[in-house]
């Protein structure tokens, strides 16, 4: 579990944004395209530079490189590595930063089971359907057992039935593993299904937060 605090984060799109997420909590950020919600996730992941301070478990990680932050980032495009089989995609995620003595094969198997993708282990990304690709990408994130998971509209290309099934599974997994989660979406239903708290974002600012039962405007 990871406790997150963002202090006065600013860049070309974000305007002095602050956010506080408790350990194990799920936060959704709603907003139209161009509001800066994806930028915020990239800043947290270390993929974009920004001013301000970023704390994971009270430790300042603002200057850390993305590979040192120990989080998982799931984007809309998923970016499964096409030159590696599903199993190898997960193996790559365990290559660095994995504690010594961990049985990687077992960890991969567990992650695939958790994402209900164990039957896909030997396949190649190009042989997967949209839903299967989402599950594999999720398994790849879970294999690292991250304290924080960042989701950037990862289910937007799925049909409603598949989407809802994955929401339920992800919500269960998050609670079971105690992961902190930050989700950005433009779908209030998705925010409601996955988050404990919902923020609304516009013009690079977090404007309001509400109970997820009442979609933030």
């Amino acid at each position: 579990m990871t406790h997150i605090r963002l202090d006065n984060i600013g860049c070309r799109i974000l305007a002095g944004l602050s956010l506080h997420v408790d350990s194990g909590q799920a936060v959704a950020i709603l907003g139209p395209s161009g509001s800066g919600k994806s930028t915020l996730l990239k800043v947290i992941a270390g993929l974009l530079p920004a001013s301000g301070k970023l704390y994971f478990d009270h430790q300042d990680i603002s200057k850390q490189s993305p590979h040192q932050r120990g989080l998982a980032y799931l984007s809309q495009d998923l970016h499964l590595f096409p030159h590696l089989s599903v199993k190898r995609n997960l193996w790559l995620a365990l290559l660095f930063g994995c504690p010594k003595g961990i049985n990687k094969r077992e960890r991969i198997r567990q992650a695939l089971i958790q994402a209900r993708a164990e039957h896909l282990a030997e396949r190649w990304p190009t042989q997967l359907s949209g839903g299967e690709r989402q599950r594999v990408a999720l398994a790849r994130c879970l294999a690292r057992q991250p304290g924080l998971m960042l989701l950037d509209e990862p289910f937007s290309s799925l049909d409603p039935a598949n989407k809802q099934a994955l929401w339920q599974e992800l919500d269960q997994l998050r609670r079971q593993l105690g992961m902190t989660l930050i989700l950005v979406t433009h779908d209030p239903l998705e925010a409601q299904a996955l988050a404990d708290r919902v923020y609304n974002m516009a013009g690079g600012q977090l404007l309001s937060h509400d109970d997820p039962a009442v979609p933030a405007d």
Partner: protein, 270 residues
């Protein structure tokens, strides 16, 4: 439309005939009776071995220099990039002979760098090192250009995803970007090798044309034609032609496999 196709077919046939004519004439001049003898002659064997050794070593060095440079050119934006791109393309559009003259002035005993190197006992001119330098000069340029296109085809977000999965940037480059650009990089290597193998002008300037010393296959053709040893010249030319054909075929096959992969991949790299 049909008329247009026929009209455009004429220049195509003319170009093909020109190439075919040159190849056919060469084949007609092959000394079939003494070909085996010419191919197995000490001079041809020396030239073939020297060409293979130097071109492969040049290729290795050009890849080590060219692939990181190509990645940088594909991924980073910086001031003066257009000027640098133009500079890197110069070896592609100027005769290597011109570059050879320039390098000769630079590395000659009276040259800026050459005089210094001579003091340290490093001899580049009229030696195998001169051949390597000339070959690297022509190969590196085409490798940078082709590899750069290969890296540009790979969405940079794959590397960023690898970073978030814990891979340091160098490992992400080696385990994600290089394999994903693999076919393009292989094509770059084949083209670079072909250029190094056929290099003549800059080699002539930097290494000279000395029999059994700096005699690569193109140099062997030049030396033997100059001295009237047509048999040996044609044998060396034939070896070069076979090598060039194999390398070009390899490039075509790599490009074809890549096209097929893209056509069948619902989620291509880009």
């Amino acid at each position: 439309m049909r008329l247009l196709v026929w009209c455009f077919a004429l220049p195509l046939v003319l170009i093909a005939l020109l190439i075919l004519g040159a190849l056919a004439s060469l084949l007609l001049h092959l000394p079939w009776q003494s070909l085996q003898q010419a191919l197995l002659s000490e001079e041809t064997r020396f030239a073939t071995l020297l060409s293979l050794q130097t071109s492969l070593l040049s290729l290795l060095i050009a890849l080590c220099l060219g692939v990181p440079a190509a990645w940088l050119m594909a991924r980073q934006q910086f001031a003066g990039k257009v000027w640098l791109e133009t500079l890197l393309d110069i070896p592609l559009v100027t005769p290597p002979l011109v570059a050879g003259v320039g390098l000769l002035f630079l590395l000659g005993h009276r040259g800026t760098l050459g005089s210094q190197l001579a003091q340290w006992g490093i001899e580049i001119l009229f030696s195998t090192t001169g051949i390597l330098l000339a070959q690297i000069y022509v190969a590196a340029s085409i490798i940078v250009r082709t590899a750069r296109a290969a890296f540009a085809e790979v969405d940079a977000d794959y590397a960023r995803m690898a970073w978030t999965l814990g891979l340091p940037p160098l490992w992400s480059f080696l385990l994600v970007e290089v394999p994903m650009a693999g076919r393009g990089l292989a094509a770059a290597a084949v083209l670079g090798w072909a250029r190094a193998l056929g290099e003549f002008g800059a080699t002539l300037m930097l290494a000279g044309a000395t029999r059994m010393k700096t005699e690569t296959l193109p140099m062997s053709v030049f030396l033997n034609i100059s001295s009237g040893e047509t048999g040996l010249a044609v044998a060396s030319a034939a070896i070069l032609l076979v090598m060039a054909f194999v390398l070009l075929l390899l490039t075509r096959l790599l490009a074809r496999r890549r096209t097929i992969e893209i056509q069948h991949d619902p989620h291509p790299a880009r």
